[in-house]
Every structure is written in structure tokens, then in C-alpha cells.
Subunit: 466 residues, 4 copies
């Protein structure tokens, strides 16, 4: 077949070069992150094809075996950096199919029976999401532990609690840091929730309308370690974008929490506060002002939180108003998701390092205690002596200059409600972090076991299990 | 006390009128939606005050009893439309306190001891969120049932399945509608997840730093039907905005699903498709073109989905980068959330009505079946006869005009994979809808029982339980 | 005609009540802001109808005269609060037509010839946008003047200039405040730009496809004070949403600037900085902490900036992906725009008041000058003596503790570059503000003159011009 | 100096590797797009240094000459792909300075006197923005011309005009396409407006607070082809992010227009409409359905419009609430802007190709004309005969089945209002496109001339001008 100049023949058609460039964009590069998942999915599909109750069989057990062996080779060559997705391939799916065909001939040309790139990419993304959600959850646990360790160390260091940035009440460094730990644990439960929704297998959906073959979708789901198949095949394909919106939403929550931590640390490390000193090796200098030690990492964390939040919007904006069935629009969600995981994982790691290494300056913290911060305590005391609170409030307000300074430690120790500065109950949060970590490890193990069984080699090591 | 002109004295200070106007905005009006929750929370707090192990007691059981009786009266007067939040009140919290003080004198002036508007509004919003999430979940169940009923009726009506808006494969009306049902059920699980996170009591957090009183936060949680208290008191206050972001995110997912349904129905009811006829009483006309029957409700649904998605962004943008502790910024999230629930509930209801009443036009659906839509079936058949799929694909592609038309019903009946057009398994989705409905009812009952016990009258009826 | 229960007959059809409720939403209330524009547009249309070269005339000059007189009455009754848009009216356009019909009978029933609600609302919104853009520009000028006045007063008060929130270089209060003035002036030029785009008349576009009548679109444009008509009638209708996105974008820029001012003032009024004291009557108190004076107005300004930015997203998200021609989706942009103008105008006003009334604390500002803030000056001096700057930088960096403190005033006075702290050139910004104000007044006058001529009475006073 | 493991010494400090990785991110790669601008700006700064009225001179004319010669070499080596920004460099500014120092020794170490990376990057971005805005404007002109050519060809091909996706009125293909041309021209005026705001020079602002040197900021502005300097030096640095928000907003408007075009073409190329056939080489196939020709490019265009809109939000979200002075947050806006220009330029190009090569199917367009589409014409005719329009409307509505079909050409020819289907006035839009193109060329020439003069070689060719 002769090709017109400027066009390129692919497995599935002939397209102008400029169109290929516009459509593929950075997609081929991003698809490299999906190679393993695509191979694993193809292995499961090959097994399902060999189990089809058809005569003649569309694929024999031996053919399936050879395909799986070759898929393991593809994963190995990918890990060596030797697997390529060419422009003509367009994407990881056709690249894997082409390689199988190049190596196995006719057998490779059989493997796309009963599949569509739509259900392949839906599968790859679900496997990717599950893996990444578990990874971020693990990183989140580390950051929570770093926060709780620092909170434990500083549990009784007094700190002025603020509202509206104005001094409000006596508090502690421990309360301040533990609040971020609890916030992150809630964010972790978002990650788990999205994982649960992702844990259903779309394979067998074809282009979204099923295939005229008696494919066993429960078998495919089990082989890949999914809890169950997505029921409706159209939703299996169309649900793709929505799952990513949820994942991005969960990541954005993590970053929102970190943006608050960053904001605090930026202000509290300004000399006017001086509550914390950031580790020197985490600060950057100025090209013109020799004295500068700038909290650039924290500013970038804050900015990346804003950008990630807008990614949720971008992904939802892409899905919004799309009619049923697959549309290429959904491809544009992939880079958002991949960047989202990278940014969130990286930020959690930096946050743990900053929290672990920063210095808490007791003196600066103490200096900030001025008498008015004890005004509410004084009002409460009058109330304990029998004055209605609103009257006590008014009496204190009228003679604010008369409010007496107190020992911060003493004021803090009176706050003994569950979770208050004098009664932090860090162990509750520690236990929650432990549970989240256990969940992550269990999910990871579950997936690795299923894949090891499927591929016949230890996964992820790829060593023969025999 | 003489007031300077243009300033207004409130329970907590004196503020310029223009500032009050700018700060309160529509907030007083919105706060009317919180009156019952504020009263319920105040009742629980009054109980907790009476249980404080202090001598002299800051509140006697009898005083608590009188407060609760008056709070019930406030709820009743609110339901009659007779409860007002004045400009000087600023918000529901001070309005309730003022009314208690007006009626009960000194006792009313006692009730704010150990509280802050920060933990009050955090509590009110959590109670509101729980209630509303349950309501939307119930409405969502109705819409799912409407979709499943229509899907069951049309389970074997053939419909061209599309990808990229182009005819793709034989499918059915049943598959199409059931996909939305499953999507909504996933959205419902988001609602449940947010409810779980909301189901922790912030009361006793004060301004976010606890209070110098031995308040029993577990008691308060139990009285109000919460699973447990938020642990960290600072997070109890600061977590407020984040919970709303999550709630809005969950609502936006529901609307995203509905926006897809709307998009389909708008296109499929254009005469060129003619697949569905929308119920006449749900269409609006044109002021100039007498023939028009426009799907305005669906267009508004689609637009409101976009606007609600941007509300997630707005709420997250408000929280982003805020230092620790309460900031007035958070107030601006309230209208977003309230509008979000109203829009989502209303849209689910309209969607159920449209789906239930629309007419499915079998003839138009059948006319859309042209031979090429069977091309993949032909390729699969060649593959079943032994040709590798990729070769079969190519052979069919080269002679596309030779693809033969088939009976759609027959083509559909061959798609027998789990959840495929020939094997919908609607009962799986029906069961899931039932479980969601049961959960919603159970949660509602749990809350009503706790409140009835707390107020000493049947809630929500407010009839004496004796 | 008998109506089925639950349906409502309107000028243009019969619709279910619940549908009317869902479609109209708050739209009827919002449409009250458009009554005058709708009447003015109808007046221009009535003139154009009377000038049609048709026999018999579709409208006589006398009929036009009576219509215009009645339209003036509608405006008057609207200003008294007596004009109503009923549920059956659906919107301002049908309400005005119904009133004309009620008063003028057959003449009223003639007026919709050659129009559509699509071009009516497009016209109303353009007139509304032009008016509001001019108003916001005027308010912006006031705020700029308040900033420049305060900057002039404080032009030589030293202030530590910061980067990354860390002390960076000697600067002044004057520089700091004048930066916001220049930012707002750029924002003002955005407002002008949008006004220029809005200043083209959509009338005569009908439903977006023109009308089978020789309507003189240039005449209509001139009568209404527009520079020219939109050329393409389809774009005249479809351009509607995009113009609003632009207007919201311009407003969001203003608010972005104000959010920065708010952020500065919130931090600088914290006692650790104490640079500024906010006017007491603009601060709000706490319900529990008697000592609090909180910058709530500034926090709300910051939050509303975030929400307004999300409105740009909402509006663009609504327009995104819409096929050609009018869709009801566009209605949902109206509340976003109206809230946007209200928020921006109100915030500019509050900002001017805060800036005008705040107290600048010279002592606190001076205390913040520590020796390292002069490090760059020292390096520059070494460079002036012949050392290459990078070497000078390094030498200073290596002996940071040796940097000597200087007199801030002296350091500032050496910064004499155009627009630097020692050479502010406020007169440049003052001149720019003056030009913007002149533009606003000229545009307002131009519109009022055109309307006065059209209605035959002084507009906006509505007094007879004779 | 010995480096601790895991830390890296840079020109301006020593930072942990992981921090460098997190802070630099993809920034070094992106900065390659700024190399030429950075060199040009450095050349202007070197001239300004040599003109400082200081004794001894901080830089001699000969030194400036040598620096400029070396800067030209850097540009050349960059164009050959041989210029590197190392991790230790962190960014383009330090990379250029390091190279100058390596080649010119002491002279290179002089060049940063009186500058900061803050004003350097602000300058680079303004030069970049101006260049890119001009390029996109030129591409936009091409696309407008393609639309107008196709509109002229199809000016009298009838097409059903739609509202709410329902057939509304007789129209033409010409009107439909010309509407996009006019929309793009408005978008073009946004580009010009942002260019005007960008056309002010920030150089000399230093870190935002000026420098203690009598730098001539007007000279620098003139050397670089700017209209004038930004007045306030703090705004010169802080305005950076806001300008990018505006640029992204303008690009998002272009993409919003293209998203509408894409939406139309996707629907109109579905077989049920069949109005247009997309050029085959611009369609992609399916991996499973041999018959598919999918409009992937258009779907990606639509999706990228949504993502770009969210980038506006991301950029604004990053700027929102930042206190005065530079923050590293702003760096995160750079990738958004660079992607934004690439996406918009590429999409405009694809849009021009699709519009130029698509086939218009007259028959399919004609088939869509059903009698009801003439209902409004019938009502208008009754009105022309003397019946009030609202009565005519009602009469036609009551006997809709009686509406007679007409010749579409004839119906269209009656729409002769300015810009209506029968009177398109394409020449108005052609003239506007011409003016925009002339502006773009003039701006480009103005910049090239200034740079040529500054560098002493023809720019951009870099050939010696002698």
C-alpha cells in the first residue's frame, strides 16, 4: 500500500501527520505509565478468550501461555526503558498489540478479539488509579506520623491560638500540628472511598456495548484482583472520566490541607512571628539579597494545591455535557490525573520532611502571649462563679485593659475536653493512621498476588515463582 | 447607651451599618435554614452545661429544662414563619440567644458559656449536611428507580450504540438508561461517604482551642446522634470548609451524571434523531416561533451542573491557603452549599419525571440501524470461524460496503456478557438502590430519635411524646 | 380555555407548574434589574417597526408614540416597586408585552413582530453590562483616589519591603499602596475593553437568524446609543454568554487585586506586625472572646474574590461545548453576572473606606527594620566601588552578621528610579484615574442622551423635556 | 567548598537535592522558551549599566559590547540546541549569568548589579507574552479567513437554523460559519488588549522595591521596544501573575469559540444530520469497529477548551490572596501559560484545516427543512397583512399542521437585515481581519527593529547588519 505524503498508516487507519501530532500530543509519553497495566489486562483477556465455550476455540491455552510469556517480556523491556510507543501506534494498546504480533505472528493478531481500546484504557486507568491511590495513602500515613511525632514532642508548648489571624485563646503547638494530622486522615478516607469505587472491572465492555461473545466478565475481574465487574457495560466505559474526577477531588483535598500547613509555616517563619525556623537546606536564596532564606517549597506547595484544584474543574469540565458513549475528550483527563498523583505524593513527602526537621522556637511562641488572649478565660471564670456568661463577657469587654496575664501552661492545662489542648488524644489519630497503613498494604498485596497468579511469575519482581 | 449614627450595637460590639450590610449579606436569610439545628445544638449544650461537675453549678437541670422548652417554642415559631434574625443579631446564633434572653432573662444569658459561634456554626452545618445528604440520597433513589423501570420496559428495544457520536454497535434503550442508574448509584455512595465524615460532632471546640471547662464532648455527640466527636478541637472548627467542599463535590458528581442524561435527551429529541419525545408539559415554547417545543428543563439541568461544579472550585478556592483557625471567609461557602443541595434535589426530581414520562420511538430507533453498525459483528464472526481478529477487521474494513444488515434484535441478543445489552442484570442495580434507600431511612430515623429524646417531644412533629 | 390542574398557560404555551418553577428559578426576580433596559429596547424596536417601508404599515408613528408613553409608565411603576413579573410571564420580556397589551390592546400585541426573546435578552444584557461597567469603573476610580491620597500622605514612611513574606529591602508605605492603585487602573482598562465589545447592538437578530422584514439594524443601534450593530445575527445571539464571561473576568481581576490588599491588611493588622490599625467601626467582635477586633470585611472580600473567580469558570463552563444557536443554558449566567457586579462594586467601596480610615503605625513599621534588610544595599555599594556584583554579593553573604543597620529614610531616598520608593510619580497614576473617570462620565452621558431622545423625556429623571 | 551529600551549591546558596527537584520541577525545561528574551533583556540592562552616571563606571561601553556579543552567541547556541540549564542553575537567569561569567570572567559577574530574578522573569514573561499574543493573533487571522472563504462559498446554501437544538428558522451555511469568524475577531481584540497591558517594561524594579542606583527605566523600556515602563516598581513585579491570568483568559475565549465550532461539526457530521463530511485524513478509526471515522481532533479541541478554561482558574487561584511582593507561587503559572499558547495556536490551525477541507452536503441540508420551520415566516406574513403579531402567532400555533413548506432559498432571501442570512456583509469581517493582521505584523516589526538595534545584528536572523 502506498501512503500519501504527510499521512501515516496505523493499525487502524491512515491519518494526516498534523492530525496525529494534535491528537496524540503528549499522550504517548503518558501512556508509558500504563504499559504494565496494559500487559496485565491483556493477559487476563487472553485467559478469558481461551476459556470461551466456542468450537473451534478462538484461542488455545497454549496460545494464551505464549502471549502471557511475551507480555512478561514486554514488561521487562519496558522496565529497561526499551519499549517504545511509536507515532503510528498512537497509544500503548496498539503498541503492545503490534509487539505481540511482531513476535508471535498470527497469535498476536488474535488478541484484540472481544476488546476495544475503550475498555482497555478504562481498565488500565482503574488499575493505575488503584495502585496510585494506595501509594499516596502510604505517603500520607508517613506525613501523618511525622505530624503526630512532632505534635507529641510539642504537646505542651504553649502557642497563641488565633482566629481571623488575631490572637484568640491559649493553645499549644501540639494541638496545631495534630489538627493537620486529623485533616489528612479524613483526606485518606477519601482516597479509600475512591479506591472502592475504582475496584470494579470494566473488561468485557468492548466499546461500551458489550461484544457478541460469551466473555466471562467475572472471571476477568477475579483474574485481575477486582472485587467485581462494573455491571453496566456502557457505564464501564463512560464511568471512566468520572472516576478520575473523584480521584482528583481526593488529591485536591490532600493538597488543600497541605496548603493550609504551608500558609501557617510561611507566616510563622517570618521574623515578626519567628515561631518556627525552617530547615536551612529546604530554603532557597535570593539572586540579589544575600540575607534571604525563602520558603519556596511551601509556596510551591500552596500554588500546586490551587493548580490541582483547578484540575478537578478541568476534568469535570471535560466530562460535563458529553453524550453517552466514549469520546476522545476523555484522553485529556489522563495528564491531569498523572500530574495530580505526582504533585500530591511529592508534596506529602516534602511536608513530612519540613515538619520533621523544622525548629520550634519556644521563646518566640511565649512572647506572643499578651494579656488580652486570656480575656475569654477571665469571662469563663466569672461565669463559674455564678455570673451569667453574657454578663461576664460584657464586664470583661468593658475593662479589657484590666485583663490579667496568666501562665500559658496553666491556661492550657485547664482545657481538658476531649481533643482540647490539655487532652489531645493523639493515640486516637495514631490508631487511625495505623489502620490506613494496614489497608494500603493489604490492597497492594491483594493486587500483587492476583497478578503473580495470572502471569505465572512473582509480581512485581517478575522472578519465576517456581 | 447612645449609638453613633450609622453604627449599630449588637450583642458583641458596635459596627458601621455599611460594614454590617457587607458582612451579613444574604447570610441572615440563609441562616433561617439553620434555625432548627441551632436550637437542637443549643439544647444539647444546655444539657452538657448542667452536667458539668462544678460547684456552684453553672446551670441547673431545671434551667436546662426551661431552655429546651423555649428552644422548642423557637422551632415552632420558626415553622410558622415568625422567627426573625435582625441585622443587629447578625446571625442565627445570636438571634436564638437573644430570644432566649428575652424570654428567660438571666438563664438565656448563661447559655453561651463554653461555646463560640465557631463551633455552633460548625455544628449547625454538620447537622444540616447530614440531613440534606440523606434527603438527596432519597431523591436519588427515586430517580434511579425511574431509570430502572424505564430500562426494564425498554430492555429489548434496539438502539444504535454510539462512540464519538458516530454509530458504533447494536445496543438497547435498556442499556443506555441503566448506565445512568449505575452512575447515580456510584454518586449515591459519594453522598454516603461524605455523610460518614460529617457524622462527627464539633461541639465543645469553642473557637477552635477548646474551653477552660470540663465539657463532656462525647455526651454532646451522643445527645445529637453523632457517631463520635471530632477529635482535635482545632480541626473541628477548621474542618468546616473542607467538609462542604466534599459535599459540593458529591453533589457535582450527581449533576455531572444528569448533565450527560440531559445532553443525550436534547440530541435524541431533535427531529433528526427523534428517538425520544419529551412530555409536552415539560417543554417550553418560543415567543416568535409557534412550532417550538424546547427542552429548556434539560438545558438548565446541564447549565446548573456546570455552575455547581464551579461551586466546588469556589468553595475550595475560599479554603485554599487559609492559615489555621477560623476566618470569616468560610461564611461564603454557606450559600454555595445551600444552592447546591437545592439544585441537585430539584434536578433529580425533574430527571425522574422526564425519564418516567418521555415516549420512546421504536421506529426512529430502528431507522438508525444502517449496515455499517454491524461491521464489528461481522469481524467477530470471521474471528469465530478461525481468522485472527486483526485480519478479520482488515478484511471487513476493505469491503465496508459489503457489510450486511442484520436484525438488530438478533445482534443484541448475542451480547450476553454480564451487564451487556442482552444480559442487563438490572436486579443488581435494583438491590443497590434498595440498600441506599434503607441506609437513608435508617440515618434519618437515628437522628430523629436522638433529637426526640433530647427535646422531650416527638421530632420532627414536635408533639409531646407522652 | 380550561387548564389542566398543575399546568399554567402563558403567552407562549402551557407548561407544568413544577417545570415553570425549575426553569424560572430566581430568574423572575433577577429580571427586575432589566425592566428599564427592556422598555428602552422595546421603544427602539417600536420606532424601527414604524419606519419599515411596508404598506400597510405594521405600526404607525402614533402607535409607536403610545407604546413609548406606556413604556415610560412601566419604568415609573417599576421604580415605585409596582411592576410585577408573574410566574406565567416567565420573564421580563413577556411581562412588558403583557402590560402593553393590557393597556393598549391590539397595539401591544403588535410589538413582538420581528423580535425574539433571544435578541431582547441579548440587548437587555448589553445595556445592563454597559451601565454596570461604567458604574464599577467610577467606583474603581474612587478607590484608586483613596489609595493615592493615602500613598501621598505616607510617601516617605519607611516600610520593610518583602518577598516570600521575608524582609527583603527598604521600601515605603507609599510604594505599597500605590502598587494597588496601578493594579486597579489596569483592571479599569479591562472594564473599558469589555465595554467596547458590549457596545454593539444585537437588535434585529430575532432568534439568531434574522427576520423576514427589512428592519434597519443601524437605526436601532443608533437609537439606543450603540456604536454599531453586531454584524452577524447568529453571533449577536450566541455572543451573549461570551460577553458575560469577559465581564466576569474583568470583575474577577478587580477582586483579585482587592484580595491581595485584603491579605496584606489582615497580616499587617495582626499584633505581631501592627503596621496598620483598622478603623474600629469596620471590625467585628467575637461572641466569646471579649478582646477581639476582627477584620471580617477583609476576609469576606478575599473569599468573595475566590467565589467571583469561580463564577468566570461557571459562566465559561456553561457556554463551553454548546452548539450554535440559543440554548436556555445561558440563562444561568445571569445570576452570576448580577452577583458579580454587586460584589465588586460593594468591595471597591469597602476597600476605599478601609484605606481612607486606617491608621498607619510608624513605630511598628520602623521596628521591623533589622540590619539584614540592608544587605543588598551593602552589596550594591561594594559594586559601586568597583567589585563585580556577584563577588560583592558573596562577600556580604559570607559575613551577614556584619551588615550594618542604616537609616531607612536614607536607604529609601537612594531608590530614585522611575516609580521606585524614592520617586513614586503618583501624578502619572492620578492622571490615569482622571482619564478613566472622564471616560465613564462621557459614556454615561452618551447613553442618557440617546435614551432621552428616544423616550421623549429626560432620562434617567423621566421628567418631560419640554 | 565541600558539599554535603544530597545538597547542591548554586550561585545563590546550598539546597537539598530533593528540594531542588521539587522546586525546579519542569521549570528548567520551560525556561528554555525564555532564553532569547532573557538574553535580550540582559543586553538592555548592560546598556543601562554603562549609562549610569557613576564614577568609577560600574560597566564600560566596551564591557557592555562584549556582553552583548556573548549574549548573541548564547542565542545562537540555544538555537542549535546546545544551551543547557543545569539543576544547579535552577533557572534561565542564573544559567545565562553563569555562561557570561565562564566566558567573560569578571565582566559576567558584574551584570546582575541592579537586577533581581524577579524583574528578570517579569521582563522575560512580558516579552514572551507579547510575542506569543502576536503569533496567536496571526494564526487567528488565518482561521478567520478560512471561515470567511468557506462562508462566502456557502453563502446561499440553505441550512435549518436551530435554537435549543430544535429546528427554528431558515438560515444558511454562510451565516453559521461567519458567526464563528466574528466571534474569533472579538477574541482577537482580547488578544490585542492584553498585548497593550503587557507592553510596559518592568525592568529596573529589582526585587519589587527598586534598586539604590539611578537606573534609567525609560531607557530600558525604549531599548526593548516597550511603549513605557510600568510605573510602580512593586506592581511591576506583582503584576506578573495577573497579566498571565488575562492572557489565559483571552486564550480561553478563543478556545471557547472553537469548542462551539467543534460541537457543531461533531453533531453535523453524525449520519443523522450528515450536513458536513469531515476530511478523511483528519478522522481516526476504531480498533474494533472497521466502519468508524471519528472526529477525534474536534473532541480534543473541545476538551482542551475546557482544560484551558480551568487554567485561567488555576492561575487566578494561585494569585488569589497572595500578600504583596514576589512569591514562588507565581512560577506555577508559567507552565499553564506556555501550554495555553501551544494549545490555542495548534487548535486554531487544525480548525482552519477542518473548515477549509470539509465537504458541505447540500442534499442533507435541504432534507432537514420541514414545514414547521417556516411557521414564524407565516406568522410574520399574517402580521404584514395587518394582524397583530401575537394574534398571528397564535393562529399559526393553533394550526401548526397547516403551515406550508416553502423554498428555503426564497425564505432566506427575505432576511435582508444587516448581517442576516440574506445580507451577510462578510466584507465587514474581512476588513476587521485585515486590520488585526496588520496590527500583528506591525507589532512584530516594532519588536524586531528594537532588538536589532540593541544587539547590533539583524534580529531574528542574527546576521550582522553591516
Amino acid at each position: 500500500m502506498t501512503r500519501k505524503p504527510g499521512r501515516r498508516s496505523t493499525l487502524v487507519g491512515t491519518v494526516a501527520e498534523e492530525v496525529l501530532a494534535y491528537t496524540a500530543g503528549e499522550d504517548r509519553e503518558l501512556d508509558l505509565a500504563l504499559v504494565e497495566y496494559d500487559c496485565i489486562g491483556t493477559a487476563a483477556h487472553a485467559v478469558a478468550l481461551s476459556r470461551l465455550p466456542l468450537t473451534p476455540p478462538v484461542m488455545t491455552p497454549d496460545e494464551t501461555h505464549r502471549i502471557i510469556r511475551e507480555l512478561v517480556e514486554i514488561i521487562r523491556s519496558h522496565r529497561r526503558g526499551a519499549f517504545r510507543i511509536s507515532a503510528a501506534d498512537q497509544d500503548v494498546h496498539l503498541a503492545v498489540e503490534r509487539r505481540l504480533t511482531r513476535r508471535l505472528g498470527e497469535i498476536g493478531r488474535k488478541v484484540h478479539l472481544g476488546r476495544s481500546r475503550n475498555d482497555q484504557v478504562a481498565l488500565d486507568m482503574r488499575l493505575y488509579l488503584k495502585d496510585q491511590l494506595v501509594s499516596v495513602a502510604e505517603q500520607l500515613c508517613s506525613t501523618v506520623r511525622a505530624l503526630l511525632r512532632q505534635a507529641a514532642r510539642c504537646r505542651s508548648i504553649p502557642m497563641v491560638g488565633r482566629t481571623h489571624m488575631q490572637p484568640a485563646m491559649p493553645s499549644t503547638v501540639g494541638l496545631w500540628l495534630a489538627a493537620f494530622a486529623e485533616a489528612l486522615l479524613d483526606d485518606g478516607s477519601d482516597l479509600q472511598h475512591v479506591h472502592t469505587l475504582a475496584d470494579r472491572c470494566p473488561l468485557g465492555a468492548g466499546a461500551g456495548y458489550g461484544v457478541p461473545l460469551p466473555l466471562d466478565r467475572w472471571l476477568e475481574a477475579r483474574l485481575l484482583g477486582f472485587r467485581q465487574p462494573v455491571t453496566n457495560v456502557l457505564y464501564a466505559a463512560a464511568g471512566r472520566g468520572r472516576l478520575e474526577v473523584r480521584a482528583l477531588g481526593a488529591l485536591a483535598q490532600v493538597m488543600l490541607t497541605l496548603s493550609g500547613l504551608a500558609a501557617d509555616l510561611i507566616i510563622f517563619s517570618a521574623p515578626e512571628f519567628g515561631y518556627v525556623t525552617l530547615p536551612e537546606e529546604m530554603c532557597t536564596g535570593s539572586s540579589i539579597m544575600p540575607q534571604k532564606r525563602n520558603p519556596d517549597v511551601l509556596e510551591l506547595m500552596r500554588a500546586r494545591a490551587a493548580a490541582l484544584q483547578a484540575s478537578v474543574q478541568a476534568a469535570a469540565g471535560i466530562v460535563h455535557g458529553l453524550p453517552s458513549g466514549y469520546h476522545r475528550d476523555l484522553q485529556e483527563i489522563k495528564p491531569l490525573v498523572m500530574r495530580g498523583f505526582a504533585v500530591t505524593g511529592g508534596s506529602l513527602k516534602i511536608a513530612a520532611a519540613v515538619v520533621g526537621k523544622m525548629t520550634i522556637n519556644r521563646e518566640a511562641l511565649r512572647r506572643a502571649f499578651q494579656a488580652p488572649v486570656f480575656a475569654a478565660d477571665e469571662a469563663v471564670e466569672l461565669a463559674r462563679q455564678g455570673l451569667p456568661f453574657r454578663d461576664a463577657y460584657r464586664r470583661v469587654k468593658e475593662r479589657l485593659s484590666g485583663v490579667e496575664s496568666r501562665r500559658p501552661e496553666e491556661a492550657v492545662s485547664r482545657r481538658t475536653g476531649w481533643g482540647a489542648p490539655g487532652n489531645l488524644h493523639l493515640e486516637v489519630l495514631q490508631a487511625e493512621a495505623r489502620r490506613l497503613g494496614q489497608w494500603a498494604r493489604a490492597e497492594r498485596r491483594r493486587f500483587h498476588r492476583a497478578v503473580s497468579r495470572l502471569l505465572g511469575v512473582q509480581y512485581p519482581a517478575l522472578e519465576s515463582s517456581g
